[in-house]
């Protein structure tokens, strides 16, 4: 047997490598070069690489892993964004747009670094078009800001449920947050948009394509085309296909009178049955259902004890329903819809009331909060334990009970009290479908609980998927979950991404792209 000969290695001989200080100097030089080229576009006072600022953008309220940007820029105009994106293509620098003050789902975390383009200061409401029930706004406009402006024109914004104070209306519309009014026409509330494409070129959708707004002789209302339905392609794209710099969106007549009704239900099936029937009658405006935990999270002002008290007194589920009158014969409108509403309630064996039994302040709370942002510092979902995980998806109301039961099973499996999970059921399009949301409160200071809730969140998401949940807003882990089960969709999406963004600079990694 041949004896093995050990290789002789001269450990003392220097490796043919660049000295580390030269490497570091090169990195600093690159960083400075990128900084200079971005500063040349936006000005020195509109770019930062301050570590504390970068840290704020590196994580959010979700379980998604952190990722720090190299720079944050605050451009002043669209031309600057176009130039930044073109420069980013040269440098292969990831670009992540951000418009809201608080981020919740990981979509604005720069997982591959790069530059965050922060548009939260873009607060221009260009136009309120009462005649065509439209308003054209920049990405930094929040719901309260928009609502105040619209009300002076006799209009209202299409609100989601209690948005955060710093929630961007543009982002909310692009991410298709469900609206409180399940009117069929409101599920696609975007008329036209301006988009900086991943190439840095400017594109406008629908009738806005024919000229910039100042030269355009349309009313910027027509949403279709040109060519494809870009509004739909860009909705829920999480900034992977470009940066939206304005939206023209629906605004609806402001009610002149309104009446709220609260219907306690013993089960989600009972609430769903009643809501189905109302949807087919095509009456009312805001309509949604909360379970007792979600209701208690909203109404408790003085901490966990009050939360528990409200939860004990609340019905298992509460449907909230609003009937309103407009400019013409408002009382008659309310009267006929109220009559039809109560007739339906009788047929469904439910008993609506203008008050919530045992919770007297609920009625006034909802009367003032249906068109208002959450006005306290701690968001309602975080009130009970300081933080919360959310699972939401599109389903049908007749599947809600199965989803809830499966989630409760998962909660028990992970040692979590299922009665503390908030449930929000939002019918969409007259009840044709529904947004179902679970709110799982946890203590962010308790590492064990954080880990347990994260495991619960992942397993429950998978369980919901297996029950047919459609995760249209495929954030973070959910994108991997849906992509792995739909290979052709994922491959085709990658092809579209390659065409529009060949250098993959726009929010890389999101949606699995």
């Amino acid at each position: 047997m041949t004896e093995k000969v050990l290789a002789k290695v001269d450990y003392l001989k220097p490796l043919p490598d660049m000295p580390y200080d030269v490497v570091m100097a090169g990195r600093r030089e690159y960083h400075e070069r990128v900084r200079t080229s971005l500063a040349d576009i936006v000005g020195n006072d509109r770019i930062t690489d301050d570590q504390q600022v970068l840290e704020r953008y590196s994580h959010d309220k979700s379980f998604e892993p952190a990722g720090r940007p190299s720079f944050v820029v605050y451009p002043e105009n669209v031309e600057q964004i176009c130039r930044i994106v073109k420069k980013a293509n040269e440098l292969l620098l990831p670009v992540v747009p951000a418009s809201s003050g608080t981020h919740c789902y990981g979509a604005a975390i720069p997982r591959m670094g790069g530059v965050v383009i922060d548009l939260s200061a873009w607060k221009t409401i260009y136009k309120i078009d009462h005649r065509n029930r439209a308003t054209r706004i920049q990405p930094g406009v929040t719901y309260d800001e928009l609502q105040r402006a619209l009300e002076s024109h006799g209009l209202r914004a299409l609100f989601p449920l209690l948005p955060r104070k710093d929630q961007s209306v543009v982002t909310s519309h692009l991410e298709a947050q469900p609206k409180l009014i399940p009117e069929f026409n409101y599920s696609e509330p975007i008329y036209t948009a301006e988009i900086v494409l991943p190439s840095g070129d400017l594109f406008r959708t629908g009738t806005a394509a024919v000229a910039p707004p100042e030269a355009n002789k349309t009313d910027l209302i027509g949403p279709w085309g040109p060519g494809f339905d870009w509004n739909r392609l860009y909705t829920r794209a999480q900034g992977t296909l470009g940066i939206v710099t304005w939206l023209n969106i629906m605004a609806e007549p402001l009610p002149t009178r309104e009446k709220l009704f609260f219907t306690p239900c013993n089960s989600i099936d009972q609430a769903a049955h009643f809501t189905y029937r109302l949807g087919k009658k095509w009456i009312g405006y805001e309509c949604f259902t909360l379970n007792r935990a979600a209701l208690a999270m909203m109404l408790a002002e003085h901490g966990p004890d009050e939360y528990r008290t409200i939860k004990e007194n609340a019905p298992a589920y509460l449907q909230i329903f609003c009937i309103a009158g407009l400019k013409r014969f408002p009382d008659e409108r309310i009267a006929y819809q109220e009559a039809d509403f109560f007739e339906t309630a009788r047929e469904c064996n439910v008993s609506p009331s203008v008050q919530v039994p045992h919770i007297p302040r609920a009625a006034s709370f909802f009367a003032t909060h249906l068109r208002q942002c959450w006005d306290r510092d701690v968001y309602w979902k975080d009130m009970y334990k300081g933080a919360s995980a959310e699972i939401f998806f599109i389903t049908t109301m007749d599947r809600a009970a199965a989803h809830i039961a499966a989630l409760q099973q998962e909660a028990i499996r992970f040692g979590y009290d299922p009665s503390d999970i908030g449930v929000y059921l939002q019918p969409i399009e007259n009840g044709r479908a529904a947004h179902l949301e679970f709110i799982i409160p946890y203590d962010p200071g308790n590492a064990y609980e954080v880990r347990r809730v994260k495991d619960l969140w992942i397993n429950a998401s998978e369980a919901m998927y297996r029950l047919g949940a459609v995760f249209t807003r495929a954030y973070g882990y959910w994108a991997d979950m849906v992509n792995r089960c739909n290979a052709v969709q994922y491959a085709t999406a990658r092809q579209i991404k390659e065409i529009l963004d060949p250098n993959n600079i726009m929010n890389p990694g999101k949606l699995g792209l």
């Binding site: 026409n185 024919v210 479908a433 969709q489």
Partner: protein
């Protein structure tokens, strides 16, 4: 017109000889349709090399894969209404879904139906009405394919309430590479058909546009579509027999209003007020030629009545109220409408008048369009001068007045366009008046001169719109090269997507945008 060697046999082997045909007696029927002036003037038209009849999604996948293997092109069709269904180049086959004509499911609770591509609106609506639901029926006629119409536009008579171009839910879409792309909730194998938006990048955006991809990106073989509440009788309430029939909906739940306004501007104001009041299920300006041709049992009847009728029927708005919740809704909405009509100086056409007798079937037309074929009897050929550019009601009016009617009048001076609706369009409100589109109707003889005047005028509407920075008529196929450079070069994005998804250019190669601009 012949396929590459081996291709025909491959199709026969896959589908059965009885489902593949290249007999000219059959294929000739697929080489004609009205309006070919608009898209085939440069390319010429061709008889297809064969017609194939798939029976399933699997069959369609096989056909597409055979086409890629043997390198010939195919056109997936629905019910063959518009020019993109006719070959613009040789060696093209037609995928005709005649055998795929089944309603697979109606979900009453969640208000949708799952249909194959040859299911017509009449077929689906008849079944939906039995369970208290309906659908907004294409104004091209209830005989057209639900799938094709939804991919093209999805417009319909009750679009004021039921919307426009919003009907598509889950789909099975055979891509140009033969793979199935599941759209919306179909992407989750446990979910079913109820939702149209995809998890992840929303590729539904490639299915819909202002006029769809016209078979240029494969074929949708099954589609779920939205249905809507319907409080009427379980069968469509028609009395009499064609050509003399009337519809008869219960008056406490369905009420037609025909309202004459002093001028078109007042009519436009009324449309806005109706939208702001959120009343009505169908709102249309109805031009005289459309109403009279629909009501005419013969072409002689039309021309006999026309001279007087055109003077009487001016600036008429048709408003249909439906009591979705109860008769109380109709009572309330009528009260609101009365107030609007009074404020704007309108006058209801009385139910005991001759005008009412001619126009009263309008309610039936809005709910199930059935008279559109009668439009062809007036002169032989028919279309609109341009239009379809969807924006506000005001924009529709401006388009119509600023450049559409001047072009019609030019055609009339040449003796090509008849008759004259005198600046009354078929102007439609969609989604409670959020959107609108207008269609000034033209009727012309089926000859090349008149056809040339039509298509020239149609193209001019695109050019005039672009020049004025207003919204354009549908640019179909080669017309995208006129509009694209003025509209953010969208045609280049569309073309790049077409090339990526259909690299061999087998799927209706000249749609949605041809590879080269017209010469």
């Amino acid at each position: 017109m012949s396929l590459p060697p081996g291709a025909y046999e491959a199709l026969e082997n896959a589908l059965g000889a009885e489902n593949v045909c290249d007999d000219p007696a059959v294929t000739s029927g697929y080489s004609y349709m009205w309006l070919l002036y608009s898209t085939h003037a440069q390319s010429g038209r061709y008889r297809p090399a064969a017609v194939v009849l798939p029976g399933s999604t699997k069959d369609v996948q096989t056909i597409v894969k055979i086409a890629n293997r043997y390198k010939f092109s195919y056109i997936p069709v629905g019910t063959n209404l518009l020019p993109p269904t006719i070959p613009a180049r040789p060696d093209t086959i037609i995928i005709d879904p005649k055998r795929m004509d089944k309603i697979l499911q109606i979900d009453t609770q969640n208000m949708y139906a799952v249909v194959e591509p040859y299911v017509t609106y009449a077929q689906l609506q008849a079944e939906a009405m039995k369970v208290g639901l309906t659908i907004t029926v294409a104004e091209a006629g209830a005989q057209v394919s639900v799938v094709a119409n939804n991919m093209f536009q999805g417009m319909g008579g009750t679009g004021h309430k039921f919307g426009y171009n919003r009907g598509i839910l889950g789909c099975d879409w055979v891509l140009p590479n033969g793979e199935i792309l599941y759209i919306g909730s179909r992407g989750n194998p446990h979910a079913g058909w109820f939702w149209g938006d995809c998890a992840g990048l929303n590729l539904k955006g490639l299915l819909r546009a202002d006029s769809g991809h016209c078979g240029g990106l494969g074929m949708v073989t099954t589609m779920a579509v939205k249905l809507f509440p319907y409080p009427g009788p379980k069968t469509f309430p028609v009395k009499g027999a064609n050509p003399d029939f009337k519809v008869d909906f219960p008056k406490d739940l369905f009420r037609l209003n025909l309202i004459k306004f002093p001028d078109r501007k007042k009519l436009i104001e009324a449309m806005y007020e109706i939208g702001h009041a959120e009343i009505a299920a169908a709102v249309h300006e109805e031009p005289a030629s459309m109403v009279l041709s629909g009501a005419s049992p013969s072409v002689e009847y039309f021309w006999e009545k026309w001279p007087e009728f055109m003077k009487q029927w001016r600036n008429v708005l048709s408003v249909t109220l439906i009591g979705f919740s109860s008769p109380r809704q109709v009572v309330y909405e009528q009260k609101v409408l009365d107030q609007i009509v009074e404020e704007l100086g309108g006058q209801y056409i009385r139910e005991d008048s001759e005008l009412w007798r001619i126009g009263e079937d309008n309610i039936g037309e809005q709910i199930r369009t059935g008279l559109s074929n009668r439009l062809f009897r007036v002169a032989g050929d028919f279309f609109v001068i341009g239009g379809f550019g969807f924006d506000s009601i005001d924009q529709s009016y401006k388009m119509s007045e600023e450049y559409m009617w001047p072009l019609i009048e030019e055609g009339q001076r040449k003796g090509h366009f008849i008759p004259d609706d005198t600046h009354n369009d078929w102007l439609n409100s969609y989604q409670l008046g959020h959107f609108s589109e207008t269609e000034p109707l033209i009727f012309f003889e089926h000859d090349l001169d008149a056809g040339a005047t039509f298509i020239t005028s149609y193209m001019k509407t695109i050019q005039e719109a672009l020049k004025r920075k207003m919204c354009t008529t549908w640019p179909l196929g080669p017309m995208n090269y006129i509009a694209g450079p003025h509209m953010c070069n969208y045609h280049e994005l569309v073309l790049n997507i077409k090339r990526k998804l259909d690299p061999r250019l087998t799927s209706n190669p000249d749609y949605p945008v041809p590879q080269q601009p017209p010469g």
